[in-house]
């Protein structure tokens, strides 16, 4: 039972690209506050995403005929980690680039690929994920949203919840039931590509712990979509959604969410930090180096076309522990109250990160679900 994380090979192209991305970000993010950077991949800026699209950094690995750039996954990884570590506002294109686009590429119709993928790659088409529901969180198979077959298409009724970015997105990849009942579990589910401007869709904001609006409740009432909205095969929704989740769990965003705080912590510690601070920063750096090594390995496995789902799950579980621990470590090293003007930048980022970390082991699969997946990988379930 050796879970080997194969090291990625050297890539000069990737390192050249890294310098290019750093120069771009230095210019784009000049003067941006640490608090804005702390939003990590929740930061939304449509104009920024268009610029990233113009650079050719969205849909990087997709075929050119769909607006992609046919670059290697290891190069894409460099763009992702540089964007995240710098605190760039990537939210607008993030979900589409990470999972909706690759899902369409794998299962979508030719028409879907030709109309949607080029818009995504240009940084102009944004997507959201229609998986969770009020009564279907970790137990995703119990979804109730239903797409009824009607003449020439589907009629959809139901409610999706925790839908990040629905209020800005153009598309939703909807996971719904097309036959049977929730008791049928994995059978009878399908995925549909929804144009969110369709009549009958109501999007209501949900404000999070930090006072921000990322989440939404998306209600479908007799929404009619054409049969061309079907992604992949009718009834194969569960299988497809699992493949989508593998994309969702594999990236560097699963351990870099608290980077802005770590950087501000180092700044706040100043030039002569105490021994406990030197130890703590060394420990967090060690975690970061090893997580990054593992995460790059996952990217390399995906580039080779290998199944990296179990490896990605392990990195996400370890990554969430790391991301969540950073505020706890930080607040013990810097003696400051959140409203102390002398350490304002550190304190505002700390307060913001504290309010965000509970989500890190919920989104993209809860800690307990992830460990259940790992246990299954060990043959225990």
């Amino acid at each position: 039972m050796r879970l080997k994380f194969p090291p990625a090979p050297q890539s000069n192209a990737a390192e050249e690209l890294r310098a290019e991305v750093r120069a771009f970000l230095a210019e784009e993010l000049a003067g941006v506050s640490a608090l804005i950077k702390a939003r990590s991949w929740n930061g939304f800026d449509a104009a920024f995403s268009r610029k990233v699209g113009e650079r050719g950094w969205i849909g990087m690995t997709w075929p050119k005929r769909y607006g992609g750039h046919e670059r290697r996954n290891s190069e894409r990884y460099v763009v992702l980690e540089e964007m995240l570590s710098a605190g760039a506002p990537v939210a607008a294109h993030w979900i589409a680039d990470r999972q909706s686009g690759p899902l369409l590429l794998k299962f979508g119709t030719e028409e879907q690929k030709q109309t949607v993928l080029p818009r995504i790659a240009a940084g102009e088409g944004f997507a959201c994920i229609g998986m969770s529901e009020p009564d279907a969180g970790s137990d995703l198979a119990s979804i109730r949203t239903r797409a009824e077959l009607i003449d020439g298409g589907f009629r959809i009724n139901g409610t999706k919840l925790w839908t990040t970015l629905a209020h800005h997105a153009h598309y939703m990849v909807l996971f719904c039931r097309t036959s049977g009942t929730p008791a049928d579990r994995h059978n009878g589910t399908s995925q549909l590509l929804i144009d969110l401007s369709a009549p009958g869709i109501t999007i209501r904001p949900i404000v999070d712990l930090a006072g921000e609006h990322h989440f939404n409740e998306v209600h479908f009432e007799d929404v009619q979509v054409p049969d061309t909205a079907l992604i992949g095969t009718m009834g194969q929704g569960w299988h497809q959604v699992m493949s989508e989740l593998a994309y969702e769990r594999s990236g560097p965003e699963r351990y870099l969410s608290s980077m802005a705080l770590l950087v501000e912590l180092i700044r706040a510690l100043g030039s002569s930090p105490a021994r406990e601070a030197r130890i703590a920063i060394g420990r967090l750096s060690a975690h970061l180096l090893v997580l990054r090594h593992m995460s790059r390995s996952v990217a390399w496995m995906l580039e080779k076309g290998e199944d990296a789902a179990l490896h990605a799950t392990i990195v996400k579980d370890l990554g969430a522990l790391f991301e969540q621990e950073i505020p706890d470590v930080a607040r013990r090293l810097v003696s400051a109250e959140p409203d102390d003007p002398a350490t304002q930048s550190f304190c505002t980022v700390l307060a913001y990160t504290v309010a965000n970390v509970p989500a890190f082991s919920l989104r993209g699969g809860t800690r307990e679900i992830l460990r259940g997946i790992i246990a299954r990988g060990l043959g225990l379930r």
Binding site: M1, R2, L3, K4, F5, P6, P7, A8, P9, Q10, R18, R22, E81, S85, A86, M259, L262, V263, E264, I266, R267, L269, P273, R275, A277, R278, I279, A280, I281, G282, R283, S285, A286, H287, L288, L289, V290, R292, H293, M294, S297, I314, D317, L318, E368, L370, R371, G372, I374, A375, G377, L378, L380, R381
Partner: protein, 335 residues
């Protein structure tokens, strides 16, 4: 992995499985040396694995040769294989004759005393490091006062009795770093073994009418153990691939810290899942967990290496933090 590396790791695995069984591991924890096992190790050429062809080795990539140390750890490290491999590397890089028989490395103070020297009492050749100089010593030039590591392995005090050393040269590398690297790899191997033993036990042990591995609470623990073992293994790769390069110090520091932390979490879960039987001398679990607890402290514990790494990171400063860390990057030995 090259064909030579594969042959070497395959023959090492077979050798440990057949010649260095639990009996040899238990003997090593009393300070004893399994001489016929060592003869087999030498016959297989394992002590020369880190050397280039010109130095008398096989010219395989350093990181691949270091897999032998991981294998040794997996089997409980009943012999000074890591120590002898590294001793030969030090000697070869210093242009000195290679070791005869089992060997180890000792850092001497100005009074000619070295402490906590692994396997010294059984070593025929001792690589001595003193004030940045390397000297090749044989057993008759030393007196050894036996002592034991926290898990019962030989870890002795050594005194220089004859200073008419065979040859001296500048020391080619840092003893603490090399020692830490060996323990990182051994920890990765032994923690994997602990995870396997624990998984097997959880599948066998029946309580409440079914194997405890069927309990969700146990499954979550086993998942954590497997993840920590994977992290220690990846940390070991990271350090092994960096060894000999410009970022070796930082990579070894990071890996010793991360693997040491994984050991703490992983060994605790292993004992929790094993219950009372795992707390006995009779059960073999402690052959690995006690070694892990010893190795995480040897050649610098987590706090030591975290301070080293923390200082380099902090001196780079907040805005250089990410560029600094991404600079500490390793690659596969072949594409």
């Amino acid at each position: 992995m090259s064909d030579t590396s594969e042959l070497l790791t395959a023959s090492a695995t077979r050798l440990f499985e057949t010649r260095l069984t639990e009996e040899a591991v238990r003997a090593s924890r009393r300070g004893d040396f399994t001489a016929d096992g060592w003869a087999a190790v030498e016959d297989a050429g394992l002590p020369l694995a880190l050397l280039s062809e010109g130095e008398g080795g096989y010219g395989i990539a350093m990181a691949e040769a270091l897999d032998l140390v991981r294998i040794s750890g997996y089997f409980g490290s009943p012999l000074p294989l890591a120590e002898t491999m590294l001793a030969n590397l030090f000697l070869a890089r210093a242009g000195l004759p290679l070791a005869e028989g089992p060997a180890t490395i000792a850092s001497f103070d100005c009074a000619g005393k070295a402490q906590q020297v692994p396997w010294a009492r059984h070593a025929q050749t001792i690589v001595g490091i003193r004030e940045g100089t390397i000297v090749r010593l044989s057993a008759d030039q030393l007196s050894v006062r036996p002592d034991f590591s926290a898990c019962g392995l030989p870890r002795d005090a050594v005194f220089l009795v004859h200073s008419d050393a065979e040859a001296t040269a500048p020391s080619p590398m840092d003893v603490r770093e090399a020692g830490a690297l060996a323990r990182i790899l051994e920890m990765a191997g032994a923690l994997r073994r602990v995870a396997e033993l624990t998984l097997a036990y959880a599948n066998e042990r029946v309580q409440f009418g079914r194997p405890i591995a069927k309990q969700q609470a146990i499954q979550q623990q086993l998942a954590t153990l497997a993840s920590q073992a994977a992290a220690a293994d990846a940390a070991a790769d990271f350090a092994a691939l960096a060894f000999g390069g410009g970022h070796a110090s930082s990579a070894i520091a990071a890996a010793k810290s991360r693997a040491g932390e994984a050991v703490g979490i992983g060994a605790a879960i292993a004992h929790q899942v094993h219950g009372a039987i795992g707390f006995t001398e009779e059960h073999r679990l402690h052959l690995y967990t006690r070694a892990l607890w010893a190795w995480r402290d040897e050649f610098g514990n987590e706090a030591y290496w975290e301070t080293q790494l923390g200082d380099t990171v902090l001196s780079a400063g907040a805005d250089a933090f990410w560029p600094h860390l991404t600079g500490i990057q390793v690659h596969a030995t072949e594409a």
